[in-house]
Symmetry: C2
Subunit: 201 residues, 2 copies
Amino acid sequence: MNRIITIGRQFGSGGRELGRRLSDELGFAYYDREIVEEIAKRTELSETYVQNIIEHRPFVAFPIHIGQSFLASADPVQQQNQEIFQTQCSILNEMSEKSDCVIVGRCADYILSEKRPLRIFVYADMDSRIKRCREKQPENEDLTDREMKNRILDMDRQRSSYYEFYTGNKWSDPENYDILVNTSNLEIKAMAKMIAAAIKQ
Amino acid sequence: MNRIITIGRQFGSGGRELGRRLSDELGFAYYDREIVEEIAKRTELSETYVQNIIEHRPFVAFPIHIGQSFLASADPVQQQNQEIFQTQCSILNEMSEKSDCVIVGRCADYILSEKRPLRIFVYADMDSRIKRCREKQPENEDLTDREMKNRILDMDRQRSSYYEFYTGNKWSDPENYDILVNTSNLEIKAMAKMIAAAIKQ
């Protein structure tokens, strides 16, 4: 069976960079935005639209107390969300069958749970995350620390809602992961080498 | 500077075994019960008494709302708790200056924070922890799963209160650690080898 590493990550924690470096160190395939591209191709929706759906809180049209459930809903937006998620499940399964791989986000830890992936969650303290986001922000963007913090927390909330909506599990609960790594005090490059060495054991 | 690894752990998660194996793999000194023995020697209190104090919730004689603080208290029990904790701090500092080491529990991650230890937290799901505790229980003990679970949760609460009382930080908060490892699905022996390989990088 192929080896699968899934990476969940707080916004601004460097999880994507860690995943990319880890795949380089191990010679594993790397999947991140490729998943969005493939969903867009199969569903004939635009990449921007798909990205929007899978990075944001699912839109629940009917409150639970009137007895509507997501799956039973005839609402077209709901149906499209569901179609996108099902396509995502198929794609992740296909990708994981091709070769050893690193998959960032997309509830891959849950979707591929039967294949026993190594489930990594990447996090950091707020100061490090603000610093990392500043290094990547466009030149014309001038957010205060407070605005940047709010953006980070908002992105976390979106990831958390998305994860909890589709998996029924709490996004930040350590029980859903095998290893959690804090990138506040260690360089991502060194950390990727450390994790790769551990996996090669 | 010596390399220091501190291990916090949920009760029944195998943190002690992981620490011991890790120290063997790396050739680091290992400190766990040795700390209690040394505190007992220096304070001239019995090991059982010291163990009881440092494994249990600190006894707070005065409620905070009447303006008493732990440090200012003239209560002899409080003073003894404080003396034990200060002795513990001195011992941990001395131990960490002798050689590379692995230290299990005792708020070592906090006490030695200026020496930048690698702070590991070990956890597992409840089923694994019950199973591990059963393997180690005395032959004449016959607890139900419910009773075992309650004992585990009670030990966690004691560790958590002790840690939070002396450090002001939340025991289970990932921000207080560099790596969190889940022992539910991986053998401790293999995990120790993996972490040792990562540290040797």
